[in-house]
Amino acid sequence: MPVEGLTADALAQHVKSIPTLPTVLTELSRRMEDPKTSSDDLAQVILQDQAISSKVLKLVNSPFYGYSGRINTINQGIVILGFNAVKNLVLSTSVLEAFKGARSGEAFRMDHLWVHSASVAGAAKLLAERAGGADPEEAFVAGLLHDIGKILLWISEPKLLTGCIAASKTHRIPLSDVERKVIGFGDNELAAVLAEKWKFPTSLKDALRWRIQPEFAGANTPLAACIHCANILCMAMGASPVQPAVLPIPETKAWELLGLHHDDRLRNILAELPLRIESARAFVLTRY
């Protein structure tokens, strides 16, 4: 039976230690809505936070982007990679920093979660590139952050999450189904509450909220579908240290939207996935 009176919002309200994200992120989002904002303006915003700006500069120079050592300033990074790519870097760096202090337990390990999240990020980006309909950089960030609801649940109700994980393994039911039965909502809904609190873009909020049922994500269904299918593919290929007792069932519409129902498309993606996942892990885990 679901925990009486507990909703995702209520749980989030009661968590005393929800980290706040740097104000630079809010300011960045606000400035990007103004079409007159220049790359200089955005660079000045990012530079207000030394910790974030030095991490972003290091990341834009990583082999992942192919400009190793050639980007010397944040402004240059914005000009070369684009507003959205740099904003996504700031966003994902901020969230990883926010959860840096979360401790692991026997049933739930933060390092395993981030390895899995990095894998899904790499897979989601590949799916977005092949299928179109979603921005690959945004798919990467959404994949990386898809399990932040689990982290919040772990921080606030570790015994509840531990119980759900155990029940999932014992009864061979997908974890999200167990969460809905036992708690009354899934960790994806908690992720959406966090995304709302942290003022994430609507596309990212929708992808996190609807990653279990992508067809309900409206205009952001392609992005939600990338996360949904990437998660399943990573688990199915044994690419994730977080191995479920049973695979979640892919949503047919999401599967077809990404063209995965064609054997050739799926075969090619399965062939390319291992290298993409390894590259994504190398990129993400240097900053974890």
Partner: protein, 101 residues
């Protein structure tokens, strides 16, 4: 030939490149069949290549054990047949990959 993905940091001399190593612009850094040396590994690390595909070093017995282990893992996760057409397709193609080596 079975390909294994190795992170560049875990490479050792004597391994053979299975798929061409390319930089982020698609230029081939090392062709398929290249034999890795200390120097080549150092260059890959310097260029920041995160991972490469190398030819598996396992003998036939080791390969048979690995194949059976991987198939058992698939059977355990999917059951003998997928519960839905999508899962069945995924199961079938994963088994196909294992059999193809």
């Amino acid at each position: 030939m079975q390909a294994m993905i190795y992170s560049t940091k875990s490479l050792r001399p004597g391994l053979t490149i299975q798929d061409p190593v390319r930089d982020s612009k698609g230029m081939v850094l090392l062709p398929a069949g290249a034999l890795l040396t200390e120097s080549l590994i150092a260059q890959l690390l310097q260029r920041g290549v995160p991972a490469v595909s190398v030819t598996s070093q396992e003998n036939e017995d080791e390969m048979l054990v690995r194949v059976e282990r991987e198939k058992e893992s698939i059977r355990s996760m999917f059951g003998e047949s997928g519960a839905t057409p999508e899962l069945e397709q995924l199961r079938r193609l994963l088994m196909e990959r294992i059999d193809a080596g």
